[in-house]
Symmetry: C2
Subunit: 357 residues, 2 copies
């Protein structure tokens, strides 16, 4: 990472979450006398089950569909919708067997002033919601970016389709689509998968994001994410999407994939867009894997909440955030919500841009 | 954890940060085929350096003061202020040798509309600020809760004194006091210490907290933290402080220590209060250590920002948050800002309350 050590610290505030991030290359030189974070999980390709054989204990492998919670749909669709169907599949969307929120619970009544508050401002509601898993491949040894662009595109289309289904439920206010890869990124299952949670409330990060983007829109008349992005932070571009290391990235080598045309809802992507995004996402994951030696990572889709009024659509712009988990955060981040990032976005972008994948 | 498995999911919103947390005991039963998070660092008491001998490579040990960045003050004070002084000490407050923010940088100019914005809403300033380390004991084998109540109280007084010093600087808007213990809580040094960062901006979590407490104060006329706390979540009480597992705890076995009298600023604690808090903090850390087998943890002080107007003091109430790090968060938490907690606060409080320490 040439040149980084000579740079001095800088604090940057981003225009989407309004977060301050401290860039401090010198921090990466600090010593440690504690064992550091475990690297990613052993690459599935190198673990038992390689060669396409199902791993004996993995319920996400093909042939073990009966050990999973009920299926919602599969790709390609089965002639007759039967969860136990042995028809071949490329993607399965299933219920989470250990759901954080339960689809069979009573949806909460609309909130009223002070009503149902345990103490001033506190509120408790039954844990209603939807928690689904997307199995991205039947094979235990295949990672998302081992699929071709169309394969990744199909996974994105499966997300979008399921989000549209959940949107139909009047009590679902938001769907958080996310992926955990590797134990240090929280994953408990190695088989390539992602998840989504449909919540009966708008999550705090979504509210913060909308408020921040609104403030900028009202002050400057522009969507924070439509603006021309400095070439320095650009990693790659396709017809419809830009991949950048954001100006105030919270994490080293964080990447955002942003639609170039203003668009509020992820779930409205069509087949062509999904193919284009699939190709870019695939490349970005391959670049991170190559540069950072198969790091644990998360990715998250940030979209507009369902009930969003039409007045807020001009400033909400969906994007996909990829976060490699290279270190553990500490009390400063938990307490203040600020992050310390030892790698300047321009440096990370340059490295990723020049990497052949 | 009797009874927990029979409970069903619940979502709760807290009255301080306005965060939604999903309580889902069933989640703790989910299987894993990935190696889970490493437990805390080996207890310092069991590692080389036990018996009070300095660990050969640890710059925080007594006798190695010259390997540290400059000292700010020590307790007890040295007759003549000389960083290299060999006088015995119990606590040292020193500069961080690898600071995230630099005290020698130019403080940022006050922000003006759109001024200095890299792109709409984005802002970059030089990394001015203060980053200090508090060495809590000269001995490598002593943990904070191995000190007696007065010893922990002295550490708290050292925090408060240093915060008051930083408050004098016109460009410092907030000081985040925090402690990392164990590698999985982010610590890079095993020797018992804490840190503080004086920032030239009000961190996002502080803004969110003040906004949330303000909204409740305006709606209900009450400070969120002065209210009578349900006995079910109380762990312990002293003359001046209550220790609770908060109603909407983000993390399993999270503890908040709250002054019973309304008070906005941590740094105003006096000697008696510090002794009382020292005793309660010590007990809480000992309980967590005993119940959870010396877990990695963070603690953070949440106080009012320096410039806070007098109109906001009625609803800001400082407290100390202790967070054991028992699992890794994933994409849902990073994306949405909501947490999933498998342990109900009432259950955690009961266990901790009944534990003898
Ligand atoms: N037979 C089966 N059928 C259907 N579903 C099955 C199943 N067996 C297991 N599952 C589910 O599959 C999911 C696998 O998810 P991940 O590996 O991405 O992480 P997990 O949700 O465990 O937790 C991570 O992500 C969450 C959300 O970010 C964090 O709360 C948490 O701390 C972090 O470890 C689990 O949620 C599990 O319940
Ligand atoms: N000789 C010396 N003199 C003075 N200071 C010295 C020193 N040698 C080391 N230090 C400093 O001592 C500190 C020890 O701090 P911790 O162990 O609490 O965690 P650290 O700050 O490394 O990072 C954790 O906490 C931060 C803040 O929460 C997170 O950003 C990060 O990811 C997480 O790992 C380091 O900041 C280091 O710079």
């Amino acid at each position: 990472m040439t040149g980084e050590a000579s740079r001095t610290s800088e604090a940057r505030r981003d225009a989407v979450f309004g977060r301050w991030v401290v860039f401090s290359p010198a921090r990466s030189r600090r010593p440690t006398d504690l064992k550091s974070h475990a690297p990613a999980n052993p690459s599935p390709a190198a673990s038992p089950g390689a060669g396409g054989a199902p791993k004996p204990s993995c319920p996400f492998c093909h042939g073990r569909e009966l050990e999973c919670a009920p299926e919602i749909f599969r790709v390609p669709a089965t002639p007759e919708p039967d969860a136990a169907s042995a028809s071949p599949w490329r993607i399965r969307v299933i219920e989470n067997l250990y759901p954080a929120l339960r689809r069979d619970a009573e949806p909460p009544a609309p909130e009223e002033d002070g009503e149902g508050e345990a103490a001033p401002g506190e509120r408790a509601v039954v844990g209603f919601g939807f928690h689904d898993v997307v199995i991205e491949t039947p094979r235990h040894d295949v990672r998302l970016w081992d699929l071709d662009a169309a394969g990744v595109g199909d996974v994105l289309l499966a997300y979008a389709r399921r989000v549209r289904q959940l949107m139909e439920h009047p009590a679902v206010k938001y769907v958080q689509v996310f992926k955990n890869h590797g134990a240090s990124a929280g994953a408990s299952m190695a088989h390539s998968h992602s998840q989504m949670l449909g919540t009966p409330f708008v999550p705090p990060t979504v509210t913060t994001r909308l408020n921040c983007m609104k403030e900028i829109y009202e002050r400057l008349g522009r969507c924070s994410l439509c603006e021309f992005q400095s070439k320095d932070i650009l990693v790659s571009e396709t017809q419809n999407f830009s991949a950048i290391v954001p100006f105030a990235a919270s994490y080293p080598f964080e990447i955002w994939i942003i639609p170039r045309q203003h668009s509020s809802y992820f779930h409205e992507i069509d087949k062509d867009m999904a193919l284009d995004l699939g190709s870019l996402l695939r490349t970005m994951l391959a670049k991170l894997s190559k540069q950072l030696n198969d790091p644990p990572f998360n990715f998250m889709v940030h979209s507009a909440p369902f009930g969003a009024s039409s007045s807020c659509l001009p400033y909400t712009h969906w994007f996909l955030q990829i976060v490699p988990q290279l270190s553990v955060i500490g009390g400063f981040e938990i307490g203040s919500g600020c992050y310390i990032n030892p790698v300047f976005p321009e440096d990370a972008a340059k490295i990723l841009r020049e990497l052949d994948c």
